[in-house]
């Protein structure tokens, strides 16, 4: 097995009690104080995650916009400088090469933030289309020099505001700006992957240990805790945010994944458009649905889902929901059985456990009363 990659924060993990696991070729912290405790902290106070394993590409040049418009399904044209969008990136069969964020710096300059396990694949894919179409755009992989910290939770703004001169209140969801945190230059992005308010901070790799320590020390009195990938997974699952390799793969289309809102039909051509248009016209045959177990059994990825005596799909992600205290899952199901209220069973290690299709997200954060 190839040696695992480590983020610039790796040397600090032990001092904060981290337990590490392999994730997408990286040795990452799965937990610090415990998944349930970290999950609860993010839902009620705040958590700080090291997500420096994520990849960052810079795409710039006169044809940068054309290139991105061709490879992703969302409409990058509509993005104003200082704003970001979420989008699937599809192959010719309509399946997902990856899902990613696009940040627009100015007319001809963008950042693309991709999943750690897909960095090489995505780079080849984007640069490959650039070459194939003969476009004037430079694609640079800056992943190694950029660290990424995610500060998430209802107290995230209050905590971060104590460490920066940038006024955070006007920074809207899916917008970003340059600023300083603890004196270090960072890109402050109001985005996240937990279903809570929060920020993602892009910083120089060498500045990231001081940021990690300083943010935790400052936020600790308000209940901020370091959080790992375990809590990140349960948080995103409750919020029904897809995870590449689970709800999205090279063989699952954005329409099947319930991400149709991120496929824009009025933007012109893009890779996979014809297949997706056909699928939309016909209606999807299978789709990702949320299920809740009706007995004490946790559905895990790969478990078979049955109805009317036959297999009608598979679990893509499942866990005991720390917030709801019941087992929940996302599953790729035959569309005939994916409607809310459908009664199913999940084969939990040989036992047929009762489940029902429910509305998603499983958890939605309360609206800000002052917003």
């Amino acid at each position: 097995m190839a040696e695992l990659k480590r983020t610039p924060l790796y040397p600090l993990y032990q001092a904060y009690g981290a337990k590490t696991v392999e994730f997408g070729g990286w040795e990452m912290p799965v937990q610090f104080s415990g998944i349930l405790r970290e999950h609860e902290a993010v839902r009620t106070r705040a958590g700080l995650f090291d997500v420096s394993h994520m990849g960052e590409f810079e795409v710039r040049g006169p044809d940068a916009l054309r290139l991105l418009q061709h490879v992703v399904t969302n409409d990058v044209q509509r993005l104003e400088p200082g704003a970001a969008l979420y989008t699937p990136m599809t192959n010719e069969r309509g399946g997902c090469v990856d899902d990613l964020l696009v940040y627009r710096w100015d007319k001809d300059r963008f950042w693309v933030v991709v999943n750690a396990a897909n960095i090489e694949k995505d780079y080849r894919w984007i640069a490959g289309w650039r070459d194939k179409l003969g476009l004037g755009a430079e694609v640079t992989d800056r992943s190694a020099e950029i660290a990424l910290l995610a500060l998430q939770g209802p107290l995230a703004e209050q905590i971060l505001q104590g460490l920066t001169d940038t006024d955070l209140r006007p920074l809207r969801y899916y917008h970003f700006c340059e600023g300083r945190v603890l004196g270090k230059p960072v890109v402050i992005s109001r985005t996240g992957y937990t279903g809570e308010d929060g920020f993602e901070l892009y910083a120089a790799a060498e500045d990231s240990p001081a940021l990690w320590e300083g943010i935790l020390a400052h936020g600790q009195p308000q209940g901020l805790v370091p959080a790992g990938l375990g809590a990140r997974d349960t948080l995103r699952l409750e919020a029904r945010l897809p995870l590449y390799g689970h709800e999205l793969t090279d063989d699952i289309t954005p329409l099947e994944a319930g991400l149709g809102v991120f496929v824009k039909w009025d933007k012109g051509s893009f890779v996979g458009r014809e297949v997706l248009a056909e699928q939309k016209a016909q209606g999807v045959k299978r789709r990702i649905a949320g299920i809740q177990m009706q007995e004490r059994a946790i559905p895990r990825q790969g478990y078979a889902v049955r109805a009317d005596g036959r297999e009608i799909g598979r679990v893509t992600s499942g866990t005991q929901s720390p917030t709801l205290k019941v087992p929940i899952a996302l599953a790729l199901l035959d569309a005939d059985y994916a409607g809310v209220g459908a009664q199913l069973t999940v084969d939990v290690r040989g036992k047929e456990a009762a489940a029902v299709v429910v509305k998603t997200p499983f958890y939605k954060r309360p609206r800000r009363s002052d917003g």
């Binding site: 337990k19 799965v30 937990q31 415990g34 998944i35 349930l36 405790r37 375990g230 349960t234 004490r296 059994a297 946790i298 895990r300 866990t319 005991q320 720390p322 290690r349």
Partner: protein
Amino acid sequence: MSQIPADLKYSKEHEWVRVEGNRAYVGITDFAQDELGDIVFVELPEVGAQVTANETFGTVESVKTVSDLFAPVSGKVVEVNAALADNPERVNESPYGDGWMIVIEMSNPEELNELLDAAGYQAHIGG
């Protein structure tokens, strides 16, 4: 550093055994609960069930993973820690105390000789 009480016997599968006469209390070790992380379900046999050494007698699920429980000795299950159904976190909090799982009335106490002592278990987990 994992706790490994000196007066218990241990299996390589990370169960502990406390012998009281012909009865064996069984649970999982501090090392095992720490490796699993937050435990959310414990599935145990009914009182009266027969269990066989080195075969599964239940499962324990943490947020991240599910793991089989292996009987360290053979016999009849005479007590089950019913409190774990609603308070599975007791296995994390007190693996050798309130987190005990079952009591087995041993049919072949000779099997105890196959188990590790504290030093042997310590070496087994590389401590």
